[in-house]
């Protein structure tokens, strides 16, 4: 099935620093979704990207979809302690079976 590789697995930052997580695939993705899971919580949908080269912003979060639709990134500017959690990318590829990346756990130190 569709495989998406996500790096890094963990990221420690000081509050106020920026954070980026990357999602890569060896095959073209039809779309990419990003989810956030707080510790002990459930995945919460953040955004979906569909178009090649698409960039979307939500306040301090910037999401990008690569030109070749094989990679995506989530960038958080000036992290806050409320940003703590695991960020997952997910994609369906050519089928309707969604595949999640392993996630990047963001730890923000005050």
């Amino acid at each position: 099935g569709q495989q998406v590789m996500q790096i890094p697995q963990y990221q420690h930052v000081q509050e106020g620093e920026d954070f980026t997580t990357y999602c890569n695939s060896s095959t073209t993705l039809s779309n990419i979704q990003w989810y956030k899971q707080r510790p002990g919580g459930h995945p919460v949908f953040l955004i979906q990207l569909v178009k090649s080269g698409e960039v979307k912003k939500q306040k301090r979060l910037t999401f990008q979809f690569g030109e070749a639709k094989k990679n995506s990134s989530l960038h958080i500017t000036a992290t806050q302690t409320t940003d703590v959690g695991t960020y997952f990318c997910a994609s369906r590829g050519g089928s309707y079976i969604p595949t999640f990346g392993r996630g990047t756990s963001l730890i923000v130190h005050p």
Binding site: P43, F45, I97, P98, G101
Partner: protein, 116 residues
């Protein structure tokens, strides 16, 4: 705001026993999903369900698993004979559709299944 609900929040069972996990999807959603997440690992797709039948299923969803929509609101996952490795958090999710504009999935709070 509508939300997906799941019961119970925690289920402890003995190996070999049957368990039924329950979910109430968002009322106007048409597609329903079950995922599992072993502690500290990624979310894994189990099955999707539409129009009272399975749409897709993963390799994990073998003969010991089954899903059902017994009435107009509930969506259940049955594990026939639980194994220790079935211990995980099980999430139910629903979406309005499967098309690009309607695929946003809403997850429930999960049921933590512990098999002893």
């Amino acid at each position: 705001e509508p939300e997906v609900t799941q019961t119970p929040s925690h289920q402890v069972t003995q190996m070999g026993q049957e368990v039924i996990l329950r979910c109430v999807p968002i009322s106007n959603h048409l597609y329903f999903y079950w995922y599992r997440q072993i502690l500290g690992q990624k979310v894994e797709f189990l099955v999707s369900f539409y129009n009272n039948e399975i749409s897709e299923k993963s390799e994990i969803f073998d003969d010991q698993f089954s899903v059902e929509r017994p009435d107009g609101s509930n969506f259940t996952l049955k594990i026939r004979s639980t194994k220790l490795e079935d211990s995980a958090m099980y999430f139910c999710a629903s979406s309005r559709g499967r098309g690009i504009g309607s695929y946003e999935q809403y997850f429930g709070p999960g049921t933590r299944l512990t098999v002893t």
